[in-house]
C-alpha cells in the first residue's frame, strides 16, 4: 500500500513536468506581454522591467530559470501584483478557496446522496420524479443566475444573509456561496446515487439481505449503499479538484478573495508566473484527488487491492 502511494506520487513528477513545460510555452506564444499597456511605457522603463523579470533573456533560459525556482517551490514574483510573490498570493487565497470548496463538496455529498437514495427507494413515484426534476433544474441553471437570485431573495429582500464579502469565513458569509457552488453538484450526485442505488437494490445480495430479515438500515445503508456509492466517489475526485481550486464565477459574484479569480486575471494580464502557478496548483489537486479516489475505492471494495 505504502509502495503504491509512493509510486503514484513519483509518477506525478513527469506529469507535472510536462504540464509545466507545455503551459510555459503556450502562454508565451500568446501575443502581448505583462507590461503591454494601452499607453505604451517608455522604452527605457520597459527595458528595465524586462531586465528585472529576466524577460530579455532567450526563452529557453527563462524556462530553465523557472524550472529551477519551481523545484525550490518558489513560484516567482507576480508581474501584475507588483509587491507580491505568487507564493504570498496563494498563501492568502488558497485556504479560502479550499474552505469554500470543501464545504460545498460535503454539502453536495450529504444532500445529493440522501436525495438520490430517497429517490431510488421511491422509484417511479412522485418523490422520485420531484427529486429528479429538481436535479435537472440544478444542472441546467447556471450558477451566475442562481447566485443573484439567491442574493436578491435572502440578502436583499429578506435581509437574512450578507450579499457578499468573506469576512474571514464567518458562517453567515459562507452560506450563500457554498450553497450556490454546491447546487449543481448536489444535482449530479443525486442522479448518480439514484442510478447506482436502483441497480444495487435489485442485486442478488441485497435480495439475500432482505430474505434474511435484516433491518431496513442494514439492507439500504450497509449492503446497498456501500457498493452504490462507488460511482459517486469516482465522479467526486475530479469534481473535488475543480471545487477546491476555486470558482471564478462564485468568487467574483460574492467578492471572495479566493484563488479562482487569479486564473482569469493572470491570463488576461499575461501575468506569466501567476498563470503558471495556478496551473501547477490545479494539476497537483487533480493528481492528488485521483489518488484519493483510488485509495477510497480500495477502502470501500475489498476486491480492489494495491499490494
Amino acid at each position: 500500500m505504502h509502495r503504491y502511494v509512493l509510486g503514484r506520487l513519483l509518477s506525478a513528477i513527469p506529469t507535472l513536468f510536462l504540464i509545466v513545460t507545455i503551459s510555459f510555452f503556450l502562454i508565451r506564444i500568446a501575443p502581448g506581454g505583462p507590461f503591454d499597456l494601452e499607453r505604451p511605457l517608455e522604452a527605457k522603463v520597459m527595458e528595465n522591467l524586462n531586465k528585472i523579470y529576466h524577460l530579455d533573456e532567450p526563452l529557453w533560459n527563462q524556462y530553465l530559470l523557472y524550472l529551477k525556482s519551481i523545484v525550490q517551490l518558489d513560484f516567482g514574483p507576480s508581474f501584475y501584483f507588483r509587491d507580491f510573490s505568487i507564493n504570498e498570493l496563494f498563501a492568502q487565497s488558497l485556504p479560502i478557496s479550499i474552505q469554500l470548496g470543501l464545504s460545498a463538496l460535503c454539502l453536495a455529498l450529504v444532500v445529493g446522496g440522501t436525495l438520490g437514495v430517497v429517490a431510488a427507494l421511491r422509484q417511479n413515484q412522485a418523490t422520485d420524479y420531484s427529486v429528479m426534476a429538481a436535479a435537472t433544474l440544478g444542472v441546467t441553471i447556471p450558477n451566475f443566475v442562481v447566485a443573484p437570485i439567491l442574493t436578491l431573495i435572502l440578502g436583499v429582500w429578506l435581509g437574512w444573509l450578507p450579499v457578499g464579502g468573506w469576512n474571514g469565513g464567518a458562517f453567515v458569509n459562507v452560506i450563500l456561496p457554498v450553497v450556490t457552488l454546491a447546487l449543481p453538484q448536489v444535482a449530479v450526485v443525486a442522479r448518480l446515487t439514484r442510478g447506482s442505488m436502483i441497480e444495487a437494490l435489485r442485486s442478488n445480495h441485497v435480495r439475500t439481505a432482505r430474505a434474511y430479515g435484516l433491518t431496513s438500515y442494514m439492507v439500504i445503508v450497509v449492503h446497498a449503499l456501500r457498493g452504490a456509492i462507488l460511482p459517486v466517489v469516482s465522479y467526486l475526485g475530479p469534481a473535488a479538484a475543480a471545487l477546491l481550486t476555486g470558482s471564478v464565477v462564485i468568487e467574483t459574484i460574492f467578492g471572495i478573495p479566493g484563488i479562482g479569480r487569479y486564473f482569469v486575471q493572470g491570463a488576461l494580464n499575461r501575468d506569466y508566473t501567476l498563470v503558471m502557478g495556478t496551473v501547477v496548483v490545479v494539476a497537483c489537486f487533480v493528481i492528488m484527488f485521483n489518488l484519493v479516489v483510488d485509495l477510497l475505492y480500495a477502502l470501500l471494495d475489498p476486491r480492489v487491492s494495491y499490494d
Binding site: 445480495h205 439481505a209 430479515g213 475489498p302
Partner: protein
C-alpha cells in the same frame, strides 16, 4: 395428494402473482396451493417461466416492485402475506430461510463471510457480534468448508461457487429454521459439486429436522431428494403427489413430457473410410497469470498436450467441469487464441496462420456459443444477424440472394422465415439458440465447434436442439467438436469422447466405452454424480 394436517408448517393457499409491465399485466402465478410438513422435503418442478420461483418469492415478500400478490401464506396459523416489512422480518431469515440459485452473486462482495453469516444471528437471535462470529465458525464447520478459521475472514470473491453455496446453506441454518426454501441451489454448479451440495443438504435435514421446499427444473434431483412433488406449468400446479408415484405413473401430459425429456438415442457411427478432416497434435495453451510486481511469473497450462483426429461426419465430445480447459481447447482449435502444437484442417496446417489467412477458412470452421442471450446483437434483425456472415464470405451475393439464404437457414432450424424481420429479444432461449445455429449453417461450414450450446436451455428444449443438431449433421455431413459438462447430451451426440481435467485428457474413447466402462476415477465420479439420476429413472420406467 396428501392434505394439510397438524404437521403442516408452511402452507400457500390460492396464491396469485401478477406483474404490471409496460405491455400489460402478466399473470405469473395463477392460484397455487402448496404446503410442506415438518421434516418433509417437497420439490417444486417446472421449466423456466413456470412461476415456481415467483411463488416462493411472493410468499417471502421478495417480489419486484411491480408485482402484486393475492391469496394466503400461512405460517404458524398466521397469514404472513401482506404483513409489514417489520413483522415479516421476524419470520424471514429466522424461521423461514432461503438459498438462491446464484451462488456467485447472492453474497455481498464487500463484506467478509463471517460478518455476513453473523448478521442474521445478531438481528434475530439477539447475539453479540462476537458470539455470532463464534457461531458462524461452527456453522462453517458444519457445512464442511475447508480451513474455516481462514475462510471466515475471507471475502466472497476468494471462494468458489460451491463454497459460496455452502456459506449460503450455513446462513440458512444459522437461526434453526422451520422451513428452508432452496431455489435451484445447485443449477449453477458443476455436477460433482452439485452432488456434494445435495448430500450436504440431505444430511443436514436429517440431523436438524427442518422442512425443505426445493425449487428445481432437474427431475434427477427431485427423484433423489424429495418426498413429494408439485409440477408447475405456466403459473399453475398441474400435478402433485408422492415422488415415487409421480415418476412411476405420471398423469398429466406435461409431467410425462418432462420425464421423457432426457436426451436419448445414439449417433450412427461414421465408416472408417471417411477422410480425416481435422487433426490436432500436441495442442497447448498457456496463460500468464498476473502475479504482481517483481514476483516470479505464474503460468497456467489451460490446455496441456492434447492430440486427436476427426473424420468427416464425426462428433468428438469434450467433457469436463468448469475450469478444465475445454472451451479454451475449442478456441485453440479454431486458432482464436495463440496456442502451441499443430492443427491441420483439410490437409492444411492452420496453426500460426495470421488473421487474414484464417478469414478464408472461417467460413468452413464455425463456432456456436453457450449464451443464447448474449451472443446475438440486440440491434440487428434476425435476418441481418443470419446473413451478416455472407457479406464477408460470399460478397458476390445480392441483398435478395442473402435474404433467400437466410430464409433457407431459418427453415432448416425449424423456424418460420417470416420471423427474420424481428429482433432477438422477441425470441425465447431455445429459439435464439436455433437462430445462432442458423447463422452458422447459412455459411455451409464443414466443421463446427459447439461450446455448451444446450446448457442454458430447459430439458425439453435441450432435447429438441440436440435432435436438430443431429439432423443437420446427417444432412450436411458436418463434423462437430461438442463441448459440454452435460454427460447425457454428450452421450446422445458423440462418436468419441474426451474427458478433461485441469487441461489434460484423463480418459478418451468411444462414447459407449466411456459411459459404460469408465476407467479413470474422475470419469467415474462425473458419471456417478450425473447418471445416478438417469439410472434411477430407468429402473422406475
Amino acid at each position: 395428494m396428501t392434505q394439510e394436517n397438524s404437521r403442516t408448517v408452511l402452507s400457500i393457499r390460492d396464491l396469485k402473482v401478477d406483474f404490471e409491465t409496460g405491455t400489460g399485466t402478466v399473470n405469473a402465478v395463477r392460484g397455487v396451493d402448496i404446503h410442506v410438513e415438518a421434516g418433509e422435503t417437497v420439490a417444486i418442478v417446472g421449466e423456466s417461466g413456470s412461476g415456481k420461483s415467483q411463488t416462493m418469492m411472493a410468499a417471502m415478500g421478495l417480489l419486484a416492485s411491480n408485482g402484486r400478490t393475492e391469496g394466503e401464506v400461512i405460517y404458524e396459523g398466521r397469514n404472513i402475506l401482506g404483513l409489514s416489512t417489520r413483522q415479516l422480518n421476524d419470520i424471514r431469515g429466522a424461521k423461514v430461510t432461503m438459498i438462491f440459485q446464484e451462488p456467485m452473486t447472492s453474497l455481498d462482495p464487500l463484506y467478509t463471510i463471517g460478518r455476513q453469516l453473523a448478521e442474521p444471528m445478531v438481528v434475530h437471535g439477539g447475539l453479540s457480534w462476537k458470539a455470532a462470529k463464534a457461531k458462524a465458525l461452527e456453522l462453517l464447520k458444519l457445512v464442511n468448508i475447508p480451513e474455516p478459521e481462514r475462510k471466515i475472514k475471507a471475502y466472497p470473491y476468494e471462494m468458489s461457487g460451491g463454497q459460496r453455496q455452502r456459506v449460503m446453506i450455513a446462513m440458512a441454518l444459522a437461526n434453526d429454521p422451520d422451513v428452508l426454501i432452496a431455489d435451484e441451489p445447485t443449477t449453477a454448479l458443476d455436477v460433482t459439486t452439485q452432488a456434494q451440495i445435495l448430500d450436504l443438504l440431505r444430511g443436514l435435514q436429517k440431523r436438524l429436522g427442518m422442512a425443505v421446499m426445493f425449487i428445481t427444473h432437474d427431475l434427477g434431483i427431485v427423484r433423489r431428494i424429495s418426498d413429494r412433488v408439485y409440477v408447475m406449468k405456466t403459473g399453475e400446479v398441474v400435478e402433485s403427489g408422492e415422488t415415487a408415484k409421480i415418476f412411476a405413473q405420471p398423469e398429466h401430459l406435461y409431467t410425462k413430457m418432462l420425464l421423457d425429456a432426457e436426451p436419448t438415442g445414439h449417433k450412427p457411427p461414421v465408416p472408417d473410410s471417411a477422410p480425416v478432416l481435422l487433426e490436432a497434435q500436441k495442442v497447448e495453451v498457456e496463460f500468464e497469470l498476473d502475479s504482481g510486481f517483481l514476483q516470479p511469473k505464474h503460468i497456467l497450462r489451460a490446455v496441456d498436450d492434447i492430440s486427436f483426429s476427426l473424420r468427416k461426419g464425426q462428433t468428438l465430445g469434450i467433457v469436463g467441469e468448469s475450469g478444465s480447459g475445454k472451451s479454451t481447447l475449442g478456441r485453440a482449435i479454431l486458432n482464436l487464441l495463440p496456442a502451441g502444437g499443430r492443427v491441420v484442417f483439410h490437409g492444411q496446417q492452420i496453426s500460426g496462420l495470421d488473421k487474414a489467412a484464417m478469414r478464408a477458412l472461417r467460413k468452413d470452421m464455425q463456432l456456436i456459443f453457450q449464451d443464447p442471450f448474449g451472443s446475438l446483437s440486440p440491434r440487428l434483425t434476425v435476418g441481418q444477424i443470419i446473413s451478416e456472415g455472407l457479406l464477408v464470405h460470399e460478397p458476390s451475393l445480392t441483398g435478395k440472394d442473402r435474404d433467400v439464404r437466410a430464409c433457407q437457414a431459418l427453415e432448416e432450424v425449424s423456424l418460420d422465415p417470416v420471423m427474420r424481420n424481428r429482433y432477438p429479444h422477441e425470441f425465447s432461449g431455445g429459439q435464439r439458440q436455433r437462430i445462432a445455429i442458423a447463422r452458422t449453417m447459412v455459411l455451409k461450414p464443414e466443421f463446427v465447434v459447439l461450446d455448451e450450446p444446450t446448457s442454458a436451455l430447459d430439458r425439453t428444449i435441450q432435447k429438441q436442439v440436440v435432435e436438430l443438431l443431429r439432423d443437420l449433421q446427417k444432412t450436411h455431413e458436418l463434423t462437430y467438436l461438442f463441448i459440454s459438462h452435460d454427460l447425457a447430451v454428450v452421450r446422445a451426440l458423440s462418436d468419441t469422447v474426451m474427458v478433461m481435467q485441469r487441461g489434460k485428457v484423463v480418459e478418451a474413447g468411444t462414447a459407449d466405452a466411456i459411459f459404460e466402462a469408465p476407467k479413470c476415477d474422475y470419469t467415474k465420479e462425473l458419471i456417478g454424480a450425473a447418471m445416478l439420476t438417469q439410472q434411477q429413472m430407468m429402473e422406475t420406467a
